[in-house]
Structure formats: C-alpha cells, structure tokens
C-alpha cells in the first residue's frame, strides 16, 4: 500500500482543497499530511477531522465495492499552512513636517494553530488562498489606520531607529488584524516597518558628505601649507653676483629687485630663480595694485585734508569773531567796573565829607563840653581849696574854733534849708508861669520839650478850642508813645502833610535798633523803616536793610 504525502501545491499558498480523486484507485492509498499543515477532512459537509498533520486511507477494492453498493461519501480535504509567514507591503505616508516617505510594512502572520478550523473563513470555493491575498485584504486597513496614523505624528528625521514608533505600529497592527481576521484564524506575530530614505535625510546625508569633503580639503590644505612653510623656512637662497658683496648686503629691497631684474644678481639654484621670478612678478603685480590703491587713498586723504583745512580756517575765523566778542565784552565789563569804581569813589568822597563834617561838629561839641567841664572843675577846685582852708584853719585852732565850727555847721545847715526852700520856690514860680496847656501836657507824663511842641501845634486854635485840641493831641501822642521832641514834631508833621510811613513806627523803636545809616540820619528826605527802624531815603521803594515795601 503506497503512501502519498500531500503538501500545498505552491509555497505562496496559505491553503487549498486537495482533490482526493486524483489519488483514489483500486488499491488503497495512504495519504499523509505533515504536522506543519492543517489537515481538515470534510465528510458529507461536516468537519470530520481538523488537526495539524494527518493520515488517511483512500480507495481500495473493498471501499470501492462499498461505495458502489451503498453510495459514496462526499469527502473534501483542506490543507493549510500552519507555519508563520511574512508578508510585505510598500506604503506611502506623510510625516508631520509634510515630507512624503515610503516604507515597507512587514507582517509576520500565522494561522492560529489552536483554532485551525477557523481558517475556513478565508477559503474560497474554487480557488486557493494565497499569502499575498491575505495581505491584500489587510493592507488598506493597515496603511491608513496604522501606518499613516502613526507617521503623521513624527517628523522625517525622527523616523529612523525610533523603537517607540515601531512598538506602537506593532501594537496597532496586532489590534487591527485581531479585529479584522481574528475570528478567521489569523494572528499577527510581529510587525516591522522599514522606512525608505526620505528627502530630508537625503539632504542631511548630502550635507554631511559635503562637510566631510570640505574638512578633508581643508586638512589637506593645512598639511600642504605647513609643508610649504617648512620648506620656505628651511630654504637657503644662494645668490650669485659680480658686484661687491657688501654693497649687495646693504642694498634695499628695491635695489635688490632691480639687480635681479637686471641679471646683476642671480639665484644659483635655477629652481629658486624661477620661483623668485614668479614671486617678483606677483610682487610687482601686488605693488602696482597697492600703488593704485594708495594713490586713490592719498587722493581721498588729500580731499579730506583740504576739507579739514577749510573747516579749520572757518573755525579759526569763527573763533576770531568769538574772541573779538569776548574782548569787547571784557572791555565793556572793564568800563562798567571802572564806572562803578568812579561811582564808589565819588560816594566815598561824599561819605568822607559827611564824616568830616560830623566829626567837626562832634569835636566842637566835645570842646564845648570840655570847656564847661573845665570851668566846673575850676569852680570845684576853688571850692575844695576854700574848704580845705577852712578845715586847716579849724585844725590849727581846734579848740578855739569849736564854737566857730559849730557856728559854721549851723550856718551850712541853714544854707541847705534855704537852698531847698529856694528850689521849691522856683518850682512854684515856674508852675505859676506855665500855661494851662503846658500843665496838661506835663501832667500827662510828657517832657517839657514835648509839651512845648504840643502847645506850639495848638497855638493857632481859638482859646476855647485850644484846650480840647490840646487834650486830643495829648491822647494821640500817648497812643503813639511819643517820647522825644523830634518824634513829636515828626508825628504831627506827618499827620498834617499826609506823609506815609513814619507814623507807623514812631515811638515804637526798640532799644535794639540796628546799624544806622549815619549819612542819612537826620537828613531831610529820609524816613525810618517801621520794620527795622533804619533811616532810609524817602525815595526808596523797599527798605535797603530789611527789604520791607515802603511805598506803592
């Protein structure tokens, strides 16, 4: 009895129905299916067996006779691959920064070995189910729901090596496949997406490539420069000349250049000569260029210097004018100062004249006082001498003159009483001579001089009104606290003429009156400041000592 191994007719197939009639014959055939395949035997429309692998006997004489006699059973055998199989699909997506990418979605699928019968949901009645067909059914859902949904959340440069993204894609794919094909016996073992190189990554790669190339070039250039520098530093130039060596040593650069060009000086090393010739050409070129630039610079400097000269000249003229103005101002100040000095000198001369006059008057008063004092002293001396003579006479005849002395003392006592009586008599005579008005003023407490002023002011009135006027004036003078003759005259003069200012302060002058203006005191046209009691000219609008307003 032969045994036939049944497998899937193509590796691309996931499952297919096997035609048993092809193996059925007169002789019984053994059909074996490997354990990596699902063997589902459907007998008369019912699943007779569904298990990984299987062994069946098909055909045979006896079974043929039996089928002929009792009728044949409807038997179908479904074989499906139970091994995991990868399927891949290229998907286009758009990243967060709007870069289009291509990626290859690889899914490791497997028919669920625990529920293999469910694979019937995938099968077609008249065709086999391919692995690519399964992917075709799943791909639209995975592309939009899984891949695009995840890729749009990251930028183009964040795709590669992003394990988290891969895990999310795998989880989402598993959930989606489980939702769509879980009940038909499919499960997902792994999902991986390989991203193709996108535009951003290509640009980054190109940039890095160019950077590396540039760095390589610069490194090579630096190495070359160092090499040239080492060569230049180590070169020893040998010159050949027919001229005096000392002269060549002391030659300037221009002279050396001229000698080289004139072949008066040659390099022994021909290579060096050629190099120097090229250097000279380059230097000549640079010199010419420098000369042109220097000429242009000098021209610009010349223009600038001319401009500066013009500015300086203008500034100088301006300063001259300013200095002239300053000189004129200074001259004016000097003239004003000189005029002020002259004014002060004139003022001083006037003050000196006033002072001299005042001093002369004081001296005259002092002389008069001295003369009176001298006469008084002479009288006192004479009296004292007389008394001394009397005392000496008394001492000489002390005893004899006791009576005379007592008589003299009695006589002096009598003289004193007589003198007191004479004084009282004189007072009574004076009181007898006073008028009623004077008596009224004196009894009011004023001095005789003030009383005379009051009487003089009341003299023009009628006799009947004189006494009333006198009383009124006495009351006004008491209110104004008039204490001297001058104040009384000033008080009543101002009252009659209406002069302003004096009446406010007359009689109120404190004992602490400050520095008087000697030249103004007592002069005509002066008034006393009621604030500080300083005598000031009547023409002053403000007090020159305390700034009090004096007149409007």
């Amino acid at each position: 009895m032969a045994t036939t191994h049944i497998t899937l007719s193509d590796d691309a197939l996931l499952g297919e129905y096997v035609r048993l009639d092809d193996v059925k014959g007169l002789l019984e055939q053994r059909v074996a299916i490997g354990p990596d395949l699902l063997a589902m035997l459907i007998k008369d429309g019912q699943i007779a067996q569904a298990a990984p692998g299987g062994h069946f006997a098909v055909g045979g004489v006896w079974r043929t006779i039996k089928d002929a006699l009792a009728g044949a059973h409807a038997i179908r055998l479904l074989v499906a691959d139970l091994k995991p199989f990868p399927v891949s699909k290229t998907i286009s997506a758009l990243t967060k920064d709007a870069v289009e990418i291509l990626c290859e979605l690889t899914i490791e699928l497997q028919v669920n070995p625990e529920r293999p019968a469910n694979v019937l949901g995938l099968m077609k009645d008249h065709a086999a189910v391919t692995k690519a067909g399964v992917l075709t059914r799943l791909a639209p859902h995975l592309a939009e729901r899984v891949v695009n949904a995840a890729v749009t959340r990251v930028t183009a440069l964040e795709l590669r090596g992003n394990t988290g993204l891969q895990d999310k894609l795998q989880a989402d794919a598993m959930a989606e496949v489980e939702r769509m094909a879980g009940d038909v016996g499919l499960l997902v073992r792994a999902v991986t997406i390989d991203f193709g190189t996108n535009e951003v990554e290509q640009a980054r790669i190109l940039e890095r490539q160019q950077t590396r190339e540039q760095e390589t070039l610069e490194r090579e250039f630096a190495i070359l420069n160092r090499s040239i520098a080492r060569e230049a530093e180590s070169n020893i130039v040998q010159l050949k000349t027919a001229l005096d060596v000392e002269k060549v040593k002391t030659a300037t650069d221009d002279e050396l250049r001229r000698m080289i060009l004139g072949n008066e000086l040659a390099f022994i090393d021909a290579r060096e000569t050629g190099v120097r010739v090229q250097e000279m050409k380059a230097i000549r070129h640079e010199l010419a260029k420098n000369r042109e630039e220097r000429v242009e610079g000098f021209t610009a400097q010349l223009e600038q210097a001319r401009h500066a000269v013009e500015m300086a000249r203008t500034g100088g003229e301006q300063r001259d004018v300013q200095m002239d103005i300053a000189v004129r101002e200074a001259k004016q100040k000097v003239a004003i100062t000189r005029i002020d000095g002259d004014l002060r000198s004139v003022t001083r001369e006037i003050d000196q004249a006033d002072t001299q006059q005042r001093l002369a008057l004081q001296k005259l008063e002092q002389l008069q006082s001295l003369e009176i004092a001298a006469r008084a002293r002479e009288e006192q001396v004479r009296t004292m001498r007389d008394l001394q003579g009397v005392e000496l006479d008394g001492e000489r005849g002390h005893l004899e003159n006791q009576i005379l002395g007592a008589n003299a003392a009695h006589t002096r006592a009598m003289d004193e009483r007589r003198h007191a009586a004479d004084t009282e008599l004189a007072k009574m005579q004076m009181a007898r001579d006073l008028s009623e008005a004077q008596t009224l003023a004196i009894t009011a407490g004023f001095s005789p001089a003030v009383a005379n002023v009051l009487v003089e002011r009341a003299r023009g009135a009628a006799d009947a009104d004189k006494l009333a006027l006198m009383r009124e004036m006495v009351q006004q003078a008491k209110d104004a606290q008039v204490s001297s003759e001058a104040q009384a005259r000033h008080f009543f003069d101002s009252g009659m003429t209406g002069a302003v200012g004096v009446a406010h302060g007359v009689g109120t002058a404190a004992s602490g009156a400050v520095h008087m203006h000697g030249s103004l005191s007592g002069e005509l046209g002066t008034i006393e400041c009621p604030g500080c009691h300083v005598i000031i000219p009547v023409t002053d609008r403000f007090c020159r000592n305390c700034s009090r307003p004096m007149r409007q």
């Binding site: 420069n225 260029k289 300086a312 100062t337 520095h515 002053d540």
Partner: protein
C-alpha cells in the same frame, strides 16, 4: 528759593556797602567776598564772574584723531581770564572715565590773572573705531582774606578714532618650469607669498592749526557728590542767602527772624552790643554774646569778659555754614578748639562754645531746616536761654 539776575539798579546800589537789598527792585545784594577788588555781585550758589573766569583750550598742534589701539596725549591750556585781575588756584583736574575720575598730576597750582598753564591729558588705548569722548572735570578755587571758595567745572571734547582696514591674502604661486622666465631651466614648485594690504587713512592724525576753546560748564552735581561744595552726607547746599533764626537770646541781642548774610556776607558774634555807640562800641555785632547768671539774671561779668568783643563770624563758604574764629581767647566747636582765623564747617547739631570748656555758661547749637537739596533756614539755639529774642 528762586533766583533772578541782577538788574542795573542792583549794580548801582551795590556800591553802598550798607545796602542789603536793592531799594528799587528788592533784590538781595550778595557781594563777592572780594567785592572790594572786583565790585561784582554773585548768585546764591554761583561763582563770582569776575574772580573765577577760567578758560580751557586745546593747544595748537594737538592731534585729536588717532587709530584704533593707540593712545592719545592731548595738550591743554588753562587760562585765567579774570577781568578783576584776581588769581585762581587749581585744586585738581581729573579725567572722567565712566563713573571713575582719574586724577591728572599737576606740578603747579596758582594761575595769575591773564596767565596760562599747560597740562596734558593721556587717553587709554582707544580700542574701537568711531568717535570717543574725553571728559574733564576741574576744581578751581578763589581766595580772599583766609576764605577759599571752590568750584568745579567740566569740559569735554571728542576724538575721532579710525579703524585700520587691512586684508591679508594667503596666496600660493605654482611655478611651472616650462613657462618660467628663468632662462630655460626646467623647474617647478610652489611659492608661498602672503600679501597684506592696508586701506584707509593709515596714521592720519590731523593736527589743530589754532587753539580750540573748550566750553566749561559748572559741575554742581560733581561738587555735591565729591564734597567740594555743600553737605555730602545730607545732600544739601546752604546758599549765601540762607535765613537765620535765633532762639534763647534776649531782646535786642539778636537780629529778627529771617536775617541773612546779604549785606556783609557774615554774621558777627561777640560781646559788643548790636548798636553803634561812639567811643565805646564802634564795631557792633549782629549777635551779642553775654553770659548771664541763671539765678539773678544779671550779667555774669567774669564769664562775659572771657568773650571777645568780636568773637567769631558765621559765614557761608562753599555752600556750607562755617564758623570763622576771630578771637584769640579760645573757641570750641563741639570739643574741638579753634585758633584765630580758623574756618570750620558746621554740621547740623553742632555746638559752638564761645568760652572753651564752659558750655554751661554759654553754648550755641545749630539746626538746619532743609527742603529739596537746599538749606532754607538755620536755627541758632542759645543754651542756657537768656530770654526771648
């Protein structure tokens, strides 16, 4: 305290030494301390225009342009242009560098009227191109009879600094032997030929043909910040027109409240009375200082005789109220003894003791009434009090 300029009437009346206020316009007449020499009126806190008239100039030939990285030395001339022929004293000159003042070493001090003095200002290396400003500040003093008034002035000039523009080319010339002009000698190699090219006005320092005057501005803020004038700690100035008020004096022994120094610039304190009495008191004081017996109220003659007829003056110098000692019998400010002619600024709360060592007999304490940046009123409080003034 508003200040207005003097009028011609003020100048006319200022000649009378006894006039404190202009009788025509009421302007207080503040005379210069050297009024006898200059005859000039001064502002409340300003300098005398006739005594203090410095003139600063950059000397001819000075270079005021440089290149970046260079130092510059600017020769300057300070001239005394006083029209009153008064000398000035230069206390210090400094170059302001940001908030720091770098002093300039001077070997001279006095400048007579019309004379000039020279000095040089060295700048630090001017690193960056462009226009740099050099600021100077100087303190100038005027002296008269033991008093010295200091004033600060500032000036500035600009220096043009140009940047040298140079470019370096690192060129390598490859020489091919076949094309060289060396006479057919076949050779080849590379020549390293660096080229440096300078552009612009290299070293173009333009020199001045003539002297260039620099305007001087009064530096009041510097004066206050540096303690040149005014009270540094309190940040206030005492103007020459500050008013005085007296407490504890008897009537007639002190001026009325609001007295100023306008007339003579001083307030005289001493034993003499305030009134002129021929023969006995030819030199009256503004404030009479006499010691009184606390029990009887009578004059304490031994203590009073220890006070000179003219004991001391209160003056305003450098915007500070100062005591100018006149007596030879001794005078104390707080506990410091003053010699005759010595000038001591008074701080708020200071005590003047006319009889050294005997403050219980007589002492004067000063208190300041200030407003914005200015001392408006000074109270002189006598202890022990002798009565109402």
């Amino acid at each position: 305290m508003d200040w207005r300029p003097y009028g011609s009437c003020c100048q006319r009346h200022a000649a009378d030494a006894g006039v404190a206020f202009c009788p025509e316009c009421r302007h207080p007449l503040v005379r210069c301390m050297a009024f006898a020499d200059c005859g000039s009126l001064v502002a409340a806190t300003g300098p005398c225009p006739a005594c203090v008239a410095p003139l600063l100039m950059i000397d001819a030939g000075a270079v005021v342009q440089s290149q970046a990285g260079e130092r510059l030395a600017v020769p300057l001339i300070l001239k005394n242009a006083s029209p009153a022929h008064r000398p000035i004293w230069v206390k210090r000159i400094a170059r302001l560098d940001g908030g720091h003042a770098e002093p300039i070493a001077l070997t001279w001090e006095q400048i007579d009227a019309g004379a000039e003095r020279r000095f040089t200002v060295n700048t630090p290396p001017l690193e960056a191109g462009g226009t740099h400003a050099v600021h100077l500040v100087m303190v100038v003093a005027s002296r008269h009879r033991g008093l010295e008034e200091e004033y600060a002035f500032s000036a500035g000039t600009t220096i043009r600094v140009s940047t040298p523009r140079s470019h370096s080319f690192q060129q390598v010339i490859n020489v091919d032997g076949s094309s060289s002009q060396g006479g057919g000698v076949a050779t080849a190699g590379a020549v390293n030929a660096p080229v440096k090219i300078d552009f612009g006005d290299a070293g173009a320092g333009a020199a001045l043909r003539d002297r260039m005057p620099l305007p001087l501005d009064r530096a009041e803020k510097y004066e206050l910040e540096q303690g040149v004038r005014g009270y540094l700690a309190e940040g206030v100035r005492a103007p020459r027109l500050v008013s005085f008020a007296f407490q504890g004096f008897r009537a007639g022994e002190c001026p009325p409240p609001g007295a100023t120094l306008a007339a003579r610039g001083t307030l005289a304190f001493g034993r003499n009375s305030r009134t002129v009495a021929a023969g006995t008191d030819a030199a009256p004081n503004d404030v009479c200082l006499r010691a009184y017996d606390a029990r009887t109220g009578q004059v304490d003659e031994p203590a009073t005789m220890a006070i000179s007829r003219h004991h001391f003056d209160l003056v305003v110098v450098n915007d500070r109220v100062c005591v100018l000692a006149r007596t030879t019998r001794g005078l104390q400010v707080n506990t410091r003894n003053l010699a005759a002619g010595e000038l001591v600024p008074l701080q708020p709360g200071d005590t003047v003791v006319p009889i050294p060592g005997r403050p219980e007999k007589l002492s004067l304490q000063v208190a300041f009434g200030t407003s914005i940046g200015s001392v408006d009123r000074i109270d002189v409080i006598r202890t022990p009090a002798a009565g109402a003034c």
